[in-house]
């Protein structure tokens, strides 16, 4: 394929790429100037809608459609929340953008706020990204000084304030309703929908939550046009009238057992194999890959036989993964035990489950306990059925939980058992040939009387 010129990562190798002067010298904020001069907010919404830009945070929801849910004529205020909580295991691409090209993101924030009539934007930033905090805040300050933020931006009747709010190490705050609850100062138990955030979100006002990379794409759609955006990626499936296609550039994180882990940019739709071989220099130590996590831990596993699947919004679905997710691939080589993967994954989701919904709180914990028992050599084949049942029953897809964390918890279990059942059964048969459990006597806790 023709060599692709990075757009999202165009500036990151420049010295002081995070500074306003460097950003502007490369043509930064020209899109903002033009839009504020020539386009109405509705024009911008339409532009993004036509581009079929889909959210890069994991769900792939069409951004223009999300913006269109904002009620017409609402007195406001409207809020834009920037989801910079990036906590999906394997994902680090937003970090690259925020540390090395924050202004690209901020220009996207300003454009999106203009479109959605938001007057306040909150950047919910993961606690564990201190350099991102420093760079983003410095960039915001530069923007205020230069007149890109604050009152009457570039002389137009459009004002915007941007605040950076730091998280406190909870994965569930990356979920839009958890993010909103946390921003309001409450415990991050994702709020139930309906009402939807576009109608009643932050402080019960119309709110849009967008991912960092999505907003960076808005900048480039405004700069280079819808045609350009749609020239990249995979067009919609002609057999599926509801498929919006997978357009535009994507940041693909690559990590795990590869020779050249890193953040790479390519048009949506490169295959997993291309990413590993052409960008990542192949599996390390001359080994074969057993599987990858295709787009952050929630998306599950893709076997080596499925590596020719295009990494766009539809591809991983077709091989039984949750979806593209964040597009950050983690490679597992042939020596890596799937049980370890399963253990790690289940521990993560049990630790991060917010705990309000019964199926997720109890299901994730039960899964961990079963896997711990299997690892300790006391597993039963029946445990795999129980794990499968947990995987099939928790989540917003069956409708049994409030948020998608449970689906993310379920998918690695489903894929591990669905695609690597033999390996898991072997382990159980090997370590617990009798197949029954030896129960260790456990002391009952004495009631602590007051």
């Amino acid at each position: 394929m023709p060599t692709y010129q990075p757009v999202l990562l165009a500036n990151i190798h420049k010295e002081d790429s995070h500074k306003l002067a460097v950003y502007e010298s490369g043509g930064g904020y020209r899109a903002l100037r033009r839009v504020l001069k020539e386009k109405s907010p509705q024009d911008v919404v339409e532009m993004v809608r036509l581009s079929n830009l889909r959210g890069r945070g994991g769900a792939g929801f069409p951004t223009g459609l999300k913006w269109s849910f904002l009620p017409e004529g609402h007195p406001g205020p409207v809020y834009l929340c920037v989801n910079a909580d990036e906590s999906e295991p394997g994902t680090f691409v937003n970090r690259v953008l925020m540390e090395l090209d924050p202004h690209q993101v901020i220009e996207g924030i300003i454009l999106s706020s203009y479109a959605t009539k938001a007057r306040t934007a909150y950047i919910y930033l993961r606690y564990e990204y201190p350099l991102s905090l420093q760079r983003m805040q410095a960039a915001v300050d530069e923007c205020y000084q230069a007149g890109y933020l604050g009152k009457r931006i570039l002389g137009r009747d459009f004002s915007l304030d941007v605040y950076i709010h730091r998280g406190a190490a909870a994965y569930v705050c990356g979920e839009e309703m958890g993010l909103i609850e946390s921003l309001e100062g409450k415990r991050a138990w994702p709020r139930i929908k309906p009402p939807f955030p576009a109608v009643e979100g932050l402080f019960r006002k119309p709110t849009v939550v967008n991912n960092v990379e999505t907003l960076a794409c808005v900048t480039h759609i405004a700069d280079r046009g819808v045609e350009w955006f749609k020239s990249l990626g995979t067009p919609p499936d002609p057999h599926d009238p509801r498929d919006p296609g997978s357009f535009g550039p994507k940041l693909y994180g690559l990590s795990g057992h590869v020779n050249r882990p890193g953040c790479y940019e390519a048009p949506l739709g490169i295959t997993c194999r291309q990413l590993i071989e052409e960008f990542g220099g192949g599996v390390w130590k001359n080994r074969q890959a057993k599987a990858v996590i295709p787009g952050g831990l929630s998306t599950g596993l893709m076997t080596e036989a499925e590596f020719d699947t295009p990494l766009d919004f539809s591809g991983p679905l077709k091989v039984g993964c949750l979806g593209l997710g964040t597009g950050c691939v983690v490679v597992l080589d042939e020596t890596y035990p799937i049980l370890d993967f399963l253990y790690n994954s289940c521990r993560f989701f049990a630790h991060e489950s917010c705990g309000q919904c019964t199926p997720c709180r109890e299901g994730t914990r039960w899964a961990v306990e079963m896997i711990e028992r299997i690892r300790a050599g006391r597993g039963r084949l029946k445990d795999l059925e129980l794990l499968q049942e947990i995987g099939d029953s928790i989540g917003i897809i069956p409708g049994t939980t409030i948020c998608g964390l449970a689906d993310g918890a379920a998918w690695p279990i489903k894929n591990a058992i669905g695609k690597f059942r033999d390996e898991l059964e072997d382990y159980i048969k090997r370590t617990n040939p009798e197949g029954y459990i030896v129960t260790e006597p456990v002391e009952a806790l004495a009631a602590i009387a007051d």
Binding site: E352, C354, C357, E362, R365, W366, L386, S393, T400
Partner: protein, 542 residues
């Protein structure tokens, strides 16, 4: 008008009524199980027990199309044409799994848990749960943590429904309870430095669907299936919240709120909730006695009413102090009796106990400063007989002057209501009859000291501060030698048969305009007497 189809049955919902799936199904007698939903609290939809299938019936074609995923009924407002399915395989399976999830880490505490017999976890397990336990069993009992003066928490029994937390935030607005930890490690606790000590704190125990939050007064006292509950009215203050009095063999073990949308909604305050121990206090007067000079003679009820009537007749000029703790019927009968003996008898309202200020809990209830249930009712009865209301303070100078020779004092006071100095002013009387719960400076000077019935032993009606009349049938029998005021006055008036408070109320509603709205059956939520007072004052009745 909206038509909703639930399990194949149609339900009509009037326009402008917003009902969720649970409420709509309840109208058809279908119970959708739930832990975290409560009509008074915000909807969180977190327990996932109320999951149902929903769909839509096309208005034109009648075709029904169902959504593939389950939704929580508590957060689904039913609309016209909505189809709800609560008993499909998918729904049953989801419920069974939620129940299984809650039982996974639940302590094996049923034998020692207060909630047994009224526990949602038990009931739903029986109705909706699985037969077989599929997870490892780790038998353990719950840790316990006191969260306040009246409430204790059995931490591990909690199912994280968060009703208690939302109650303290939205209803009592005190915010003492919170959730700590995350995921499976979550626990309920108090915000550091803020124990759960607001005046509505006892209500969190009612809200808790399991035996996590327990009432320290009730803890381990009685099994719920041995108790019989009786509808009653709290007599702790002039608000008169509707209550359930739960007793076994004439001993009260628990007071709980009775739902009354017009008055206290779903709650009662701690004063009312814990306002029953005095009923079984050993200090209670339980035998009628007479003082002859320095000697105390214990009396028999046989013939006592005649003796009392005789002595009162002899005294000539009489006064009756009608306690604001009396029911309307009792006040009426006493007034009638005394006025029958002396047509010019004084009728005065007894001392009205007032403590502090009214305390308003917006959205919930108001705790009145006036700590008696029936001042308005008794005043109306007094006004009916005498044309005016005489207060206790206004009566005392009359007694001092010597015009009054005999006083019948009705009590029912839980706490001190009279001091030595005031009591001494009654010494000059020829006859003093005191009927009360506890010994007092006044009862020590009484010629006849009669035991009074406690609130749960009385039968009659009370009128609260907002003119709401409520019926309070008797719940327990009084101790052996105690004759309730109502039955004693009935006998003093030489009426036949057993005391019938409804008959007296009927009489009262005919005699006094103020009470006329209570002519027919009194609804469970009581009746606002003002409805008839705004009408034609000529006395014509509905």
């Amino acid at each position: 008008m909206a038509i909703v189809i639930i399990d194949g049955r149609e339900l009509e919902i009037p326009a402008r009524q917003r009902l969720n799936g649970i409420q709509a199904a309840a109208r058809l007698g279908i119970e959708i199980p739930h832990y975290c939903w409560h009509p008074a609290l915000s909807v969180v939809g977190s327990c996932r027990m109320c999951l149902v299938e929903i769909g839509n019936r096309d208005a034109k074609t009648g075709k029904i199309s169902m959504l593939p995923k389950l939704v929580p009924a508590c957060n689904t407002i039913v609309t016209d044409g909505m189809v709800l399915v609560t008993d499909s395989q998918k729904v049953r399976q989801a419920r069974a799994r939620v129940e299984e999830g809650l039982l996974l880490r639940h302590p094996i505490d049923c034998p020692i848990c207060d909630k047994a017999g009224e526990c949602c976890l038990q009931d739903y397990h029986f109705l909706h749960g699985q037969d077989e336990r599929r997870a490892d069993v780790r038998p353990f009992t719950s840790r316990r943590r006191d969260v306040g003066e009246k409430v204790t928490l059995f931490v591990d029994r909690c199912v994280m429904c968060s009703q208690c937390v939302r109650f303290t935030r939205e209803i009592s607005r005190t915010g003492e309870l919170m959730v700590t930890g995350r995921g499976a490690h979550e626990e309920i606790d108090v915000v550091p430095g803020f124990p759960l000590d607001n005046k509505l704190s006892g209500n969190v125990v009612d809200h808790c669907p399991v035996g996590a939050l327990c009432d320290k007064e009730f803890l381990y006292q009685q099994r719920v299936w041995y108790m019989t509950r009786h509808p009653g009215v709290c007599t702790g203050c002039a608000t008169g919240c509707s209550i359930w009095i739960e007793e076994n063999q004439d001993r009260i073990y628990r007071i709980r709120p009775r739902e009354n949308p017009q008055l206290n909604r779903w709650w009662i305050c701690n004063e009312g909730r814990y306002g029953y121990p005095h009923v079984h206090n050993r200090r209670r007067l339980i035998r009628p006695r007479r003082r002859d000079g320095g000697e105390i003679v214990y009396l028999d009820w046989t013939g006592l009413p005649n003796e009392l009537a005789g002595r009162l007749g002899q005294a000539g000029h009489l006064a009756a102090v009608l306690s604001p703790h009396l029911t309307c019927e009792e006040a009426y009968l006493l007034g009638k009796f005394v006025r029958g003996l002396d047509a010019a008898a004084w009728l005065a309202l007894g001392p009205v106990p007032v403590v502090g200020q009214d305390e308003r809990f917006p959205d919930a209830l108001t705790i009145s400063a006036e700590k008696c249930p029936n001042r308005r009712g008794v005043e109306a009865v007094i006004a009916h007989f005498t044309g005016r209301v005489t207060t206790f303070d206004q009566l005392l100078p009359e007694i001092d002057q010597g015009g009054i020779r005999g006083v019948w004092f009705s009590g029912g006071y839980k706490t001190d209501f009279v001091d030595e100095a005031t009591a001494r002013r009654f010494e000059s009387l020829d006859l003093l009859v005191v009927q009360d719960l506890f010994p007092s400076p006044l009862s020590e000077r009484a010629d006849y000291e009669l035991p009074a019935a406690a609130f749960a032993e009385r039968d009659g009606s009370y009128v609260n501060r907002a003119d709401r009349l409520q019926s309070a049938p008797w719940a327990i029998r009084p101790p052996a030698e105690v004759r309730s005021e109502g039955s004693l006055y009935w006998e003093l008036l030489r009426r036949d048969g057993l005391y019938d408070s409804r008959a007296v109320l009927d009489e009262l509603t005919r005699e006094a305009l103020y009470f006329s709205a209570a002519r027919g059956p009194v609804p469970e939520v009581g009746i606002d007497l003002k409805v008839n007072l705004l009408a034609d004052a000529s006395g014509s009745n509905v």
